[in-house]
């Protein structure tokens, strides 16, 4: 037996299919047994019927033969009386009697052996032994009987004058009478013996049939009753175990659970429910219980109707005295009708922690924003202070002094770029960035960037080229932000390219539903393992490889967010050591336009 499964899985052990199969098997056995019983009983009935019939026929035959035996002697007696009486009326009476007796005897003999009713019955067969008595030597009973009848008729034909005790016909009759008695006696005995043999046969047959009946009944007990009982016992055991398992499981589940019907009445609660809320709530409305409310909850799945097997999960605040629960609803069939299983997970602490975290993030975000803004004031003072000294407005500076003032100036500018990046990132992150969207020509943006960046590239000895697409559609975009994105891409391209070129291209995409801008360079390219980190916040900063350019590593992240805000896409292709191409697209239909 499959004991392991019994331990772990109670479902399916008393599965309907298995029970059905078992039922079918038992039913077919039962039908077979019933058929056997039916056949045996029918046979029994037939045998009894047949035996009764045989007994009737045998009795008739014995009766007739017995009577013949008696009549044969009466014939002898009456023949003698006829011959010896002197009275005429007595003689006439004897003649009548004899004539009647011969008719009767001949008639019954023929009834048995020749024409009439008994002889034509299919059940009645004259046995070989009887035939021998009647038709063969030494008895020749049939012949003798007929001879006897002929003699009697001859005697009856004799005139009264011829009648005397010495009449030869009478002599024949009287001499044949004892022989006939013996023959008929033998026939009676034969009939009786055969009848007894028949009875014995019938008894044997009936015994056989009874044995078959008993065997059939025993088979029913062995092959139907016993397995059925065993099966029922096993199933009861399994059901008992399964029930126990379910009970243990239901008691152990650490969540408040209930089942509500389609009207919102609570029709089942589990142990945990009783522990938390008491047990007298079955029958109440769910919304009165959870929210102490007269109306059903607005987002209750019952409102939409129960969908079997569908899981809905809601987080509901202010349940059961101000706690927060994650309520999972599952549509199921309970007691024959649709119902909703509700599982309550108390997430009050988690919800509180999340809320605190959100608040903390918000505070931090505001703090960063505030600090960054505050930094700008002293930064401006430093910047202007340095500028005043550098410009000579506060007296002459030596070349050495000028060198370090330049360094200071450059780093102050770098610092203010960093602060701007952080602020941009912060705004995008908090969704507070303002976008001024209007239809425009992307080529104009490229031209502006070219003006600003071409010198930087050429100073580094790079070839800076621009390839503008013709007749481009005009997407809606924020010109300043897209300029910022392109500046960032071009700046990166120049920064990471030592020799070769930087090329900016604009074109329509293949589907003609967007314009795209690509910046191609022949720089160091991007290693495959670094490609994934490129658009992650502070990706570059964490790597620490690029402080020379004064980048925070936020440039690509900011660019990506700006492009996404336009509903566009930003991507790159690169081969390490050979160069990179960064592209972005602006769709003609912006989602937020």
């Amino acid at each position: 037996m499959n004991n392991n499964r019994q331990v772990y899985d109670y479902t399916g052990l008393v599965a309907k299919e298995k029970l059905r199969g078992f039922g079918r098997r038992m039913a077919s056995r039962y039908i077979l047994a019933t058929l056997i019983l039916l056949v045996v009983l029918s046979l029994d009935y037939a045998v009894v019927r047949r035996s009764i019939r045989y007994r009737e026929l045998d009795a008739a035959a014995i009766d007739i033969t017995g009577r013949q035996r008696m009549l044969s002697q009466r014939i002898a007696l009456f023949s003698l009386r006829l011959a010896v009486t002197a009275q005429a009326d007595e003689r006439a009476r004897m003649r009548r009697e004899l004539s009647g007796i011969v008719k009767l005897m001949e008639g019954t003999h023929n009834q048995v052996f020749h024409t009439s009713e008994l002889a034509t019955k299919p059940q009645f067969k004259i046995s070989v032994a009887l035939k021998a008595i009647y038709y063969s030597a030494p008895a020749y009973l049939d012949k003798k009987l007929h001879g006897y009848f002929d003699n009697v008729r001859a005697l009856l034909d004799e005139p009264d004058s011829g009648l005397n005790p010495d009449n030869p016909v009478l002599r024949n009759i009287l001499s044949a009478a004892p022989d006939l008695l013996d023959g008929l006696d033998a026939a009676v005995k034969q009939f009786v013996s055969e009848s007894e043999q028949d009875i014995q046969k019938i008894k044997n047959t009936q015994l056989g049939l009874m044995i078959i009946n008993i065997l059939t009944l025993l088979s029913i007990a062995a092959f139907i009753l016993r397995p059925a009982m065993k099966r029922i016992q096993r199933d009861i055991e399994i059901l008992h175990q399964a029930n126990e398992f379910n009970e243990v499981l239901l008691k152990a589940i650490p969540f408040v659970m209930d089942i509500v019907d389609e009207q919102g009445n609570i029709i089942y609660v589990n142990e945990k429910f009783k522990q938390v809320l008491g047990s007298d709530l079955v029958g109440g409305k769910c919304h009165e219980l959870y929210k102490d409310d007269r109306k059903p909850c607005g987002n209750c799945p019952l409102v939409k109707g129960i969908e079997l097997g569908k899981v809905d999960t809601l987080e509901v605040e202010g349940v059961l005295g101000g706690r927060t629960f994650r309520i999972s609803h599952v549509g199921l069939v309970y007691q024959g009708s649709k119902a909703l299983l509700e599982i309550f997970e108390d997430i009050t602490e988690k919800a509180r922690a999340e809320k605190q975290l959100r608040e903390a993030i918000s505070i931090k975000s505001n703090f960063i924003s505030m600090v960054s803004h505050e930094l700008r004031t002293p930064l401006t003072a430093i910047k202007e202070g340095i500028a005043i000294v550098l410009d000579g407005a506060a007296g002459c500076t030596s070349p050495e002094q000028k060198e370090f003032l330049d360094i200071a100036k450059k780093n102050v500018e770098r610092l203010s770029r960093l602060i701007n990046d952080v602020l941009d990132y912060q705004k995008l992150d908090a969704g507070k960035m303002d976008f001024e969207m209007s239809e425009g020509d992307i080529n104009e943006v490229v031209k502006d960037v070219e003006k600003a960046m071409a010198t930087l590239a050429r100073n580094k000895g790079l070839d800076f080229t621009v390839e503008l697409g013709h007749g481009l559609p005009r997407p809606r975009f924020d010109s300043d932000k897209i300029t910022q994105v392109l500046m960032n891409l071009v700046n990166n391209a120049i920064k990471f390219t030592e020799t070769g070129f930087v090329k900016v291209m604009t074109f329509k995409n293949e589907a003609k539903d967007a314009v795209a801008v690509c910046v191609e360079d022949t720089g160091i390219g991007i290693r495959e393992e670094e490609a994934g980190k490129l658009f992650q916040s502070f990706g570059q900063l964490a790597k620490g490889g690029d402080r020379k350019s004064g980048s925070t590593g936020l440039g690509l992240v900011i660019s990506e967010r700006i492009i996404h805000h336009h509903g566009g896409r930003i991507w790159f292709e690169s081969e390490f050591g050979k160069g990179s191409t960064f592209c972005f697209s602006l769709p003609l239909k912006t989602p937020k336009a």
Binding site: E400, F404, I407, N411, G544, K548
Partner: protein, 133 residues
Amino acid sequence: MDAKKKVLVVEDDDSIRRIIEFCLSKRNFDVVTAADGLDGLSKARSINPDIIILDLMLPKMPGEEVCKQIRKDKQLGRVPVIMVTAKGSDADKVIGKVIGANHYIVKPFRVEELLENINRLVPADGASKRERS
């Protein structure tokens, strides 16, 4: 008269590199600079400095790797290394056997602080090793 002490400054930021170079030159050090880890390591091997100022975050080869290589080097094994880090939390792993720096300073730092540590690690009477060169 004492020969000038040789300082190797490995720092990728132009401004910081130039400022350290300037300040140390003024204090009568012989300053050699490198802008990345690989260059720093090869210059260390070629000039055999008295002390190395090493930035932790460097292109081409990170500062900690440069430091490990220096410690493995027969000739440079005992040269003091001052590691410059941007994060205070990096400092602990820099000192000690794995990386092997002698000291660390955290940005932003004052050049005076750097000088004090150089003077502490390279006394005025010079390192014995320098007499070989």
